[in-house]
Subunit: 438 residues, 2 copies
Amino acid sequence: MTELITAVEAVDVRFPTSRELDGSDAMNPEPDYSAAYVTIRTSEDAAGHGLAFTVGRGNDVEVAAVRALAPLVTGLSVDEVLGDLGAFSRRLTGDSQLRWLGPDKGAIHMAAAAIVNAVWDLYGRREQKPVWQLLSEMTPEQLVALVDFRYLEDALTRDEALELLRRAEPGRAARATHLLQHGYPAYTTTPGWLGYDDEKLVRLSRQAVADGFDLIKLKVGADAVDDMRRLRLAREAVGPNIKIAVDANQAWGVRQAIAWMSTLAAYDPYWIEEPTSPDDVLGHAAIRRAVAPVKVATGEHTHNQVMFKQLLQLDAIDVLQLDASRTAGVTENVAILLLAAKFGVPVCPHAGGVGLCEMVQHLAMFDYVAVSGTTENRYIEYVDHLHEHFTDPVHVHDGHYLAPTAPGISAELHPASIAAHRYPDGPVWNLAPDPATP
Amino acid sequence: MTELITAVEAVDVRFPTSRELDGSDAMNPEPDYSAAYVTIRTSEDAAGHGLAFTVGRGNDVEVAAVRALAPLVTGLSVDEVLGDLGAFSRRLTGDSQLRWLGPDKGAIHMAAAAIVNAVWDLYGRREQKPVWQLLSEMTPEQLVALVDFRYLEDALTRDEALELLRRAEPGRAARATHLLQHGYPAYTTTPGWLGYDDEKLVRLSRQAVADGFDLIKLKVGADAVDDMRRLRLAREAVGPNIKIAVDANQAWGVRQAIAWMSTLAAYDPYWIEEPTSPDDVLGHAAIRRAVAPVKVATGEHTHNQVMFKQLLQLDAIDVLQLDASRTAGVTENVAILLLAAKFGVPVCPHAGGVGLCEMVQHLAMFDYVAVSGTTENRYIEYVDHLHEHFTDPVHVHDGHYLAPTAPGISAELHPASIAAHRYPDGPVWNLAPDPATP
């Protein structure tokens, strides 16, 4: 009997993080970290889990988008899907009717991410390997077969990608061993949420250094005077040798970003993240030229590989912050890692939220073992929120992510966590079902 | 009593256009033209109608996105909304949780478009004016107040926009009179769908010329040999003096676009539309440099004003094809018209589908009367499909759109058309309700 995908289930799961102002920034004052949580089931009782992260309202739209894609997936042969994951991804993003909602962007693309990640989880479980290892053991030919080069070839050809992967092949085994022994560098955003008072900022900044982090991040962009004070306090707390990144979460126009950053330059920020609209490739390039040597970082809202291609072609960023579920999951992120390697730009994945740390660690570790071959100037973002809800939570010690060894992509939620946080009917929300919510 | 918005209703309406291969192109072989159809109701029994256009599957996601935005709208004072439509638009697109699904792109942004257009329709009905006239009678100060300049000011400042509008003010009345007498130039895509055979292509091309059109458009991009033959047949049918645009609907990579267009150059195409990914600003710029004097056109999938800004900053397009419901409706389109005028690029709105001709005519006519002040090298796309479902359908005669005179934005569907085409329960679809469809 051929093993078939029998179901694509989607659940609206929301965590009431706004009650504590965890995750507050210039554009997201009160997020409720949420997931359109996807489980793929097969006729052999296997399962894979993935999710698309949102910040509350709209998570129901994301669930609707997953359900719109589900008929493209149910009934497929598992072997055929896993045998050509590039074709599977194009099947999801290339549907001639559904792609009108994107193409390759917004709710429908994030829904594709959740499904693609769930399929990679299924693959990892079948092979009994964490996804970073699964990827790192694929041949260069298998890896480039994942990539849709149609819109990339003016920046990265298949042959260039192959060459780049082959160059990294000899060191794979040694790097995998090193990774398992030493982990992968992390940075922390925990001290710097805008909703935290100065005392908490200073205390958590010191704690971050004590915990082994050499890069911390502060949210900025709501008030320039506050930002100067908070950055000064953080700098005083951690000393001159710890890097402090700042993150404006798109609050500024291009000229405003340049002016605002000039007021913060005295405190030696390491990078400015999302200084303006995530769509403004030219704007990022202009800001980068103006604020150097401060680096420019972006990516958590960069919606697909074509946008990353242009950020790289225009030398618009110093740090590429891919996201686990903004672009179409592991498969598109392989293309983005290859683009970054071609252009020599370090990848520091966006994480935090719910499940993002769990998923992106696999991508960064694969990058180290089989693509860029280095962790220099590379970090995975770390925020200590909501990991307890996962069956295979991240482990961060002494400023490093320990490499996960359990099979899959680490995105499985505990059933009890799902039951408690289902929206709107879970007990955490304590709401009557809303007939207007699909 | 203050008049309040009491309801934002959304209906999933789909027309089975795929049964006739109307609308078939290289990326959309079988579209079912659809609308997330929005009605806004007030406590004074007034109503406004707008829609977001989709091509079938996914229209339910669009309806879910409208419903997610609805709580931001119901309960608002109509006077306050109409008194500051710029703030209203930012309220929809700036919601700190919902914007995560964009920001400013994809399903949630198109849902904002449907609501914004419905509110403009309400406004026009209240003022007893078609929206083109309503816009054309606003002061330059009122018009720039609609625009969110935050991400635009490196390309267009408020002062520049004001200056541009003031320069066009003296001629407004004369141009409005001219418009009412002569209409606005149209071009037609009716002959050129990929699903039509050669005989139909030739017959409809000749008919288009007989009907007074001097620009027709052919779909290309599926097969180069077919494209050469079809373009040759069309050229022979219409003669050397009729412009023939071609439209690849994103089928190509950058290098492929350049190579393919070189094979079509002998037949003198007027513009190449959507040669590659709609997100690839740099790609469009490279293609434009290579295919000149053939023009490059794009915009129907350009998801917001920041993307249009960059296309203009990089001289990447010769023709800007704004869409009624891809960007956030009339309000964001005012910004896009101002950007185009600043850069001297003609706007030829995307239309066809369902309701797009009806809505975009108001934008092009406003542009003529009060922004660019000219119809030179400007056309509104016209396709003769589905107009019979609207209470105020477009009227195209002798290659020109006649200016609508009924109040509003012309997007109201006949109740009988809604009832017949509701998905999945309308009789046209003849389907049992699907429990998986919200």
